[in-house]
Amino acid sequence: MKALVIIPAYNEAENIEKVVKNLEKSVPQMDYLIINDCSKDNTVLLCKKNHYNFLSLPINLGIGGGVQAGYKYALEYGYEIAIQHDGDGQHDPEYIENVIQPILNGQADITIGSRFLEKEGFQSSVTRRAGIKFLSKLIQVCCGASVQDVTSGFRAVNRKYIEFYAADYPSDYPEPEAIVTAKLDGARIQEIPVIMRERQNGVSSINLKRSIYYMIKVSIAILICRLTNRRK
């Protein structure tokens, strides 16, 4: 099955080589596509130097626009499965096979790698976990999807949802919202236990001020999404 690993990368010069090396070791049969979201460091130079397969966005679109570019690419080049895999080294490509298994078996349309199912590895801070728990409950109430690690960017989707996300993917902290739009569309979503690491180098894109904005924005987005979309 033709599978593409989508790697959104913004200022990941310190991590990207390691991420690609691990991917090539764990899933050599899969193609990957780095999406350089107009990084300010030399991410793009590294991509060119190492002859990576990459897209380079001319303006910074944020993670949503970057990931959507990956889905558009997957759509155009006929991939059957697309896997989202962060470019900061938090995700371990060893789990990709596990994550796509339910899709290969036709049991799920979308799978989400979750660090909370078996509570192993990096679990994030208490406050962040509380925030994630709140969003998880909100999503359950709004659309009935029971997903614990709603912010996880370790995901896989089948061809149907490659098309769905290529046409419309939320912007600006899109992960929880993307669950809601897909669930309302009737997607079968399954969570798969994975172990995540703390990001290896560089800074996370979320600080205190942003996390407040994050919670407000994402909660409102979920509610509006529910109000404006009919369940299929």
């Binding site: 897209l55 380079s56 001319p58 959507q68 558009k72």
Partner: protein, 115 residues
């Protein structure tokens, strides 16, 4: 409404239209984005020319003085215009995003062709 006030408001409306036409002539504003501006100017102009209309409106909704009624109408149009601006910005953001994504795909194809 006193005559002085009506003359002042009338002059403001005239200046407002003149400014809009000036910007259109200089190609600084696209007509499709200022239809709302023109429409709100028209309503304000009518209310200044025929203050009886304003008084009817004011009595109807129970506002004490005509000026407040005028403010209310003005604020309503400002909100309407702001909302349309936000809609335009959102639409353009979406278009720019699509352009950027297509650009990146084309750039990749070009890079591969040049190899």
């Amino acid at each position: 409404m006193s005559l002085h006030l009506r003359i002042l408001l009338g002059l403001i409306v005239v200046a407002y239209f003149w400014l809009i036409l000036y910007f259109i002539k200089k190609k600084m504003l696209a007509l499709k984005y200022i239809l709302l501006w023109l429409f709100s100017g028209l309503v304000m102009g009518i209310l200044v020319l025929f203050p009886q209309l304003l008084e009817i409106f004011v009595k109807l909704v129970g506002i004490e003085t005509p000026m407040y009624g005028l403010f209310l109408v003005g604020i309503f149009f400002i909100l309407l215009i702001l909302m349309s601006l936000t809609a335009i910005v959102s639409k353009q953001t979406e278009r720019i995003k699509n352009l950027a994504q297509n650009h990146a795909m084309l750039e990749k194809r070009l890079r591969e062709l040049e190899k």
